[in-house]
């Protein structure tokens, strides 16, 4: 196997593994739109990083993290619906980023790579980011699993029972920012939400417990990465979108299989 292909596979699997449990929570907490909004604002991180000559991973994490804090703060004021706030913040930051990038004549930015990912160009340093960030996020999710799950089921009940609800909510958003930042390289900001949601949705069909769903979602995500890369090589299709297509094929297959199974049983 070629080196670049091995790095692509390792990078994709690293992102898919952590996207499993985080994606499960995104689905349970109905935060798909939040994830998409955060991913959109990632491009502002890229623009800022180029402008200030920062490491792009750091810049993206910083901007996505700031969005998480901003939304958490705005949620306390009931004046605007959360999805309205998200819609404004996401698209304004995307637009500002595109304008800023257009003015930066010195930096030749491959916009397509940020929008749809460039997994075949994953470097060793990217792998360090993916596995460093991914393992951190996984460890954090495991550590706060019970309070996060309790708060997901019912925030007020969890709070009365002593769970640090506000803390785990913010921590979860920040972890999401981290995963979006490292996943940017793999499927890009327009498709990263699908890597969070599709494997989790497929896993729901077969999982009996929340933990099973998280683990199965990771496994399905890894399969989608492998399948997408294979398809990309075989048919010379763009790698990032091919991974999402592979995830969709897996979701459909699992859904049809469980439907057939339950009908017969």
């Amino acid at each position: 196997m070629d080196d670049f292909l091995l790095r692509a596979l390792l990078g994709g699997i690293g992102v898919a593994m952590v996207a499993g449990p985080l994606g499960a929570f995104v689905v349970w907490r109905r935060m798909a739109y939040f994830g998409a909004a955060m991913a959109h604002s990632a491009l502002l991180g890229v623009a800022l990083g180029l402008l200030l000559e920062l490491d792009l991973n750091v810049a993206v994490i910083a901007v996505c993290g700031a969005l998480a804090v901003l939304v958490a703060a705005l949620e306390r004021y009931k004046g605007l619906a959360t999805d309205t706030v998200l819609g404004i913040v996401a698209h304004v930051s995307l637009a500002v980023a595109l304008v800023a990038l257009a003015f930066m004549e010195t930096a030749r930015v491959d916009l397509f790579a940020y929008l749809f990912g460039d997994i075949l160009a994953v470097t060793r340093l990217d792998l360090v980011w993916i596995y460093g960030g991914g393992l951190t996020a996984l460890a954090a999710v495991v550590a706060m699993w019970r309070p996060l799950l309790a708060a997901t089921v019912h925030e007020e009940l969890a709070e009365v029972e002593g769970a640090p609800v506000a803390g785990v909510r913010l921590a979860f958003m920040l972890l999401l920012a981290l995963v979006i930042a490292v996943g940017l390289k793999v499927v890009g900001l327009l498709l990263i939400t699908s890597l969070l949601i599709i494997p989790a949705a497929a896993a729901r069909r077969v999982a009996r417990t929340p933990e099973q769903m998280a683990v199965i979602a990771s496994a399905i995500g890894c399969l989608a990465v492998a399948g997408g890369l294979y398809g990309s090589l075989r048919w010379d299709s763009p790698a990032g979108p091919s991974i999402v297509v592979a995830a969709a094929v897996l979701f459909t297959a699992v859904t049809l299989a469980t439907l057939a199974f339950t009908r017969r049983g």
Binding site: E156, L157, E159
Partner: protein
């Protein structure tokens, strides 16, 4: 157990005491000068129309909302079991009743099954939480609150989504739990007559406390009647058949055995209707 030296002297067994609570939400004064107490072994029911601030007051007692003014006292070390108004678990979350119960108390061991049996929901532990009927869900929520071995149960509309016979059974269950465990209960209801038999104290709330006292007294209180209108009288007549003495006109909480004269023709009409219905119920 003894009161702290710096605290004001409080009666033994007092679990919760809130006083002078003002709270504004979105510019509206939702609670104005509200006071409330609950003690061990006592069932206190908050009643009031929709939007009268009942759930808000419950949230203040639980510490989920900070009042703008007033004091909230809870006896140090009080464990609270809370049953929220409505819990809907997303279909996407595979969660059994057993796991749902364990979310409130870690490492609960075999106790969830015992508590499920206590609330009459034995055998539900393995059922997906989304596959429960309204009555089953309320019992499971009660079980989760009881698993914490609470000193105080706070129940926000505990019979929501339960049919009429089920409602009566649930209130009886709550009374039995109080008797057995000796805990205090603070619950919210929108209907006095449903909870009449299973409550010691009623607090009638419409942003301020309209009246408070034993359920029979409150049901005859002019402020209560003004708040709930002829419907309340009808309910009273149907359920307790005490329509020949009530109406403490213009006064404070009417004493139990003081039947003031009737005044209002409109109320008489309401009563006639109630009487008819009462007879038809046997």
């Amino acid at each position: 157990m003894a009161n702290q030296a710096t605290e004001p002297e409080r009666p033994h067994g007092l679990l919760v005491e809130v006083a002078g609570i003002d709270l504004k939400l979105g510019g509206n004064l939702v609670l104005a000068g509200v006071a409330l107490t609950a003690s061990e072994g006592e069932i206190v029911t908050l009643i009031g129309p929709n939007g009268s601030g009942k759930s808000t007051l419950v949230r203040v007692v639980l510490g989920l909302l900070e009042p703008d003014r007033g004091s909230v006292y809870m006896r140090p070390g009080t464990r609270v079991g809370y049953m929220p108004q409505r819990v809907v678990v997303d279909e996407m979350l595979p969660l059994t009743v057993g796991r749902f119960l364990a979310l409130g108390v870690p490492a609960a061991g075999a106790r969830p099954r015992a508590v499920l049996a206590e609330v009459g929901a034995a055998g539900l532990a393995g059922r997906p939480i989304q596959r429960l009927s309204g009555g089953e869900m309320q019992r499971v929520l009660l079980a989760r609150a009881l698993l914490r071995e609470p000193d105080l149960l706070v129940l926000d509309e505990p019979v929501q989504g339960v049919d009429v016979t089920g409602q009566g059974e649930l209130f009886e269950l709550i009374t039995r739990i109080r008797d057995r465990r000796g805990l205090g209960v603070l619950m919210v209801s929108h209907d006095l007559h449903l909870v009449m038999a299973s409550t010691d104290t009623v607090v009638c709330l419409n942003h301020h406390v309209c009246c408070t006292g034993r359920p029979e007294a409150v049901s005859r209180h002019p402020e209560y009647l003004a708040l709930f209108g002829p419907l309340a009288e009808r309910g009273l007549a149907v359920y307790t058949h005490q329509h020949d003495h009530r109406h403490a006109v213009g006064g404070e909480a009417a004493p139990l055995a003081a039947p003031p004269p009737r005044q209002d023709a409109a109320e008489d009409t309401a009563e006639d209707a109630a009487e008819t219905e009462g007879r038809s119920h046997g």
